[in-house]
Symmetry: C2
């Protein structure tokens, strides 16, 4: 753990490709150590594996041109958005060329009447929502980080709003993609639905850059709801909190967010974000709808929470109060790290059928305690998805080994419960051992698809497979 291992390097090819790209891209071409290392670095425990060069692309044509050079010399291509992925997705274990897409950040078209927009891949979530606000529109997927939308598509991101609005797979209408050959394709249209051939859009979403580079994204948008309300409620046990979640979902209350923070996470949030939440397990909710609707939804949840022994139920439509709570939720990663300064947080996520959630979370907490690992529990529990974050002293080999065995154990537990080893972080380098445990021979079909589209294996090698 910590290192994902290197792959064989094609030294001659890399050297030749770098020569050509330097010539073609001049000042947009970089080989300085610090910029290279920055592009292999992610919000993760996995050791940095820097690419050999970074090229800042400004257009689809430039991306295609870079890919063609790399294809000619059989050199790895790694697409880079904001580097906020969590499983080593932008590492370069075989070296190669990183294409930085942050300068491709134009919002090309907004079709308010169709509730869609067309953007370049480097546009970030916050940039898009700031731009859309005046038109009464927003893009709901919120993985926490201010990630690029191309990266969010590539990793099939989701997050707090997914329980209501789905994940990236549900909110992308079409992609423009540069294939490993350098050819450019479009996978769909602006039609809201289609039965025209294989769903290449969904095949590319979550492929983690292993099949091509996303150079344009057509997104579904939502109208900003007339009203929003937030609610919170505390529970003595994880089980009671999870039961309340299950009932809320079963009743069909269209929660926009329903998040669980365990007692330790609440303590961390209180300390870091200067709050005075009751130090119990907490459910934090948001409702979107009409004024009447959000009031009704909050009250319905209140009744359910009461039934399961919840206490301190409060709800509000005041933006200031809502923002304070959700800011604390967004800062949870940093709040947790502050529980044990100097350590790294090994963020790992699993997702199980909601009926197994209480059991899975409780087992996860107990096991962490038994191993002496300090970890908060934070979860998008409406989907059965939660995160453990063991805080590990990376210089302590025993602790690192213990965390490694913990992550393995948790992933296998989720799979044994009919769940998945990753609800939203993706496979990258970190979860490769669990993919076959979860999906068996289906992984061979994925590999066949990979070989068909990228026969030389130049697209983000060492990820997923």
């Amino acid at each position: 753990m910590g290192s994902a291992g290197n792959l064989p390097r094609n030294e001659d090819g890399i050297s030749a490709a770098l020569g050509v790209l330097k010539q073609q891209f001049g000042e947009a071409f970089h080989t300085g150590q610090s910029i290279r290392e920055q592009h292999g670095h992610t919000t993760t425990w996995i050791e940095t594996q820097a690419p050999d060069a970074v090229v800042f692309a400004k257009s689809t044509e430039e991306v295609a041109s870079i890919v063609k050079v790399c294809a000619a010399h059989k050199v790895p291509v790694i697409a880079y958005g904001t580097g906020t992925s969590l499983e080593g997705h932008v590492n370069a274990p075989a070296g190669g060329v990183c294409i930085d897409l942050t300068e491709m950040n134009a919002i090309k078209e907004v079709h308010a009447e169709d509730l869609d927009c067309v953007i370049q891949p480097g546009v970030t979530r916050e940039q898009l929502n700031t731009y859309l606000r005046d038109q009464g529109l927003f893009f709901p997927i919120d993985p926490g980080a201010n990630a690029s939308l191309g990266g969010m598509a590539a990793t099939r991101a989701s997050g707090t709003n997914a329980v209501r609005y789905g994940t990236m797979k549900d909110n992308v209408l079409a992609l423009e993609v540069v294939l490993p050959s350098g050819e450019v394709i479009r996978t769909g249209t602006r039609a809201k639905k289609s039965s025209a051939g294989y769903d290449l859009t969904r095949l590319l979403i979550g492929a983690e850059g292993t099949l091509g580079v996303i150079t344009e994204v057509t997104l579904k948008l939502q109208g900003i709801p007339e009203a929003m309300s937030s609610a919170r409620c505390s529970f003595e046990t994880i089980d009671a909190a999870c039961q309340a979640v299950m009932m809320t979902i079963q009743y069909g209350i269209p929660v926009a967010r329903i998040e669980l923070l365990d007692t330790l996470a609440v303590q961390a949030a209180n300390a870091y974000s200067k709050l005075d939440l009751p130090e119990e397990h907490l459910l934090l909710l948001e409702f979107h709808g009409s004024e009447t609707g959000v009031a009704e939804q909050a009250e319905m949840f209140g009744s359910i929470a009461e039934e399961f022994g919840g206490s301190g139920f409060e709800w509000t439509t005041k933006a200031e109060d809502r923002n304070k709570l959700w800011q604390a939720r967004h800062d949870m990663y940093w709040a947790a790290l502050a529980l044990r300064p100097g350590t790294k947080g090994i963020s790992t996520d699993v997702c199980v059928p909601i009926s197994r959630l209480a059991e899975c979370v409780t087992a996860a907490k107990d096991k962490a305690d038994a191993l002496g690992l300090i970890s908060t529990v934070v979860g998008h529990v409406g989907d059965g998805n939660f995160h453990m974050l063991p805080l590990v002293d990376m210089d302590n080999a025993e602790e690192v080994a213990s965390a490694q065995s913990y992550v393995s154990w948790l992933n296998e537990l989720a799979i044994s419960m009919g769940g998945t080893c990753t609800g939203e972080h993706g496979i990258g380098q970190g979860k490769k051992p669990y993919l076959r445990k979860e999906l068996g021979g289906a992984v061979d079909v994925m590999a066949a698809v990979k070989a068909a589209i990228d026969p030389d294996g130049i697209m983000n090698p060492g990820k997923i497979f």
Copy 2:
């Protein structure tokens, strides 16, 4: 038009495979002409191309066993559900073996607390919903026909409820699939979301049986809403009706259905279903939610409709009144055929961005009129999806040619408007000419995926490509 052309037959292989299957399957193996023709027949204008044999499978193991025999002899395999697809999906242009899945109709597991179920592919939509009703659950996707859920997955079906609940791609959690080799894989788990590798579930949904045979489906379910209301409103012009739809969607009113019937369709429904709807263009809506919610939604729609000159706005929560209207909507295909007895209805669907809907529908009607074609307009207009149904005397070559040119023109019009040549019927044999017009080089990527998974091309040949 009418015939999709035959493909080369592997006579020796077919003969050998039939010998083995007859031996293995005894009474479940059929070669009688009428049963074979029935299995090449669909609710369509496309000429029947019967398979050489039909085998009724009872289990995944039997499907795998049939596929292995066909694979060994390079013989086509065509999966059959209810034969209600519309673009020649179950035809056998190269002969081969049809696997009838209707006897694989077990509802294996219902997980009420997780809002999911696991079923065999031959389970029909109505069978499932009848079974689920007592548990307060339902499966929302409703393509009109009482189709099998395996077939609905294979064709990426959608229909009237898609505007609220999405299409099959949004409502399937996982599939079990028999690959062209006979190997059985699972594409996912019961987790509500996952980022574990390529999205094979979505790749198989809408692949029209060209990549494998679906032998089990894990579906998302919904709680039956506390209340439902229906509303209707008439409009003098298509444009006004479409404007009202666009505003309804933009306001974020969570309509469960919003259907357009043009004046001719209303006349047909009045005659066939003994109704007395005003003979104008009609919007027919359904709302799902709480008692307060559905009242609020219906009233909000009423205000929007008024703004666009709608008349005769009525809404009701009475089940009897609701059912009568929706039954008429479901019977629309037969009602339209009754406008001109003895003809065939050439059902064709397109889907465009909703801002182009009024223009597209109006052009489609005008063009049909100019060609002397009688056609209703019926549409799932919340998604920008609508159907034309020219009623054609198939013995009149001129009329057939005219309808053929009309379908071509309409598909190209939709594509030129940023839409798709099929919102929900699929490509099959009937829409092959338009797929490349819509998606260009992406079709080569689809073909590469097909060749990688089905190198001998035995799975439903002659469809999509």
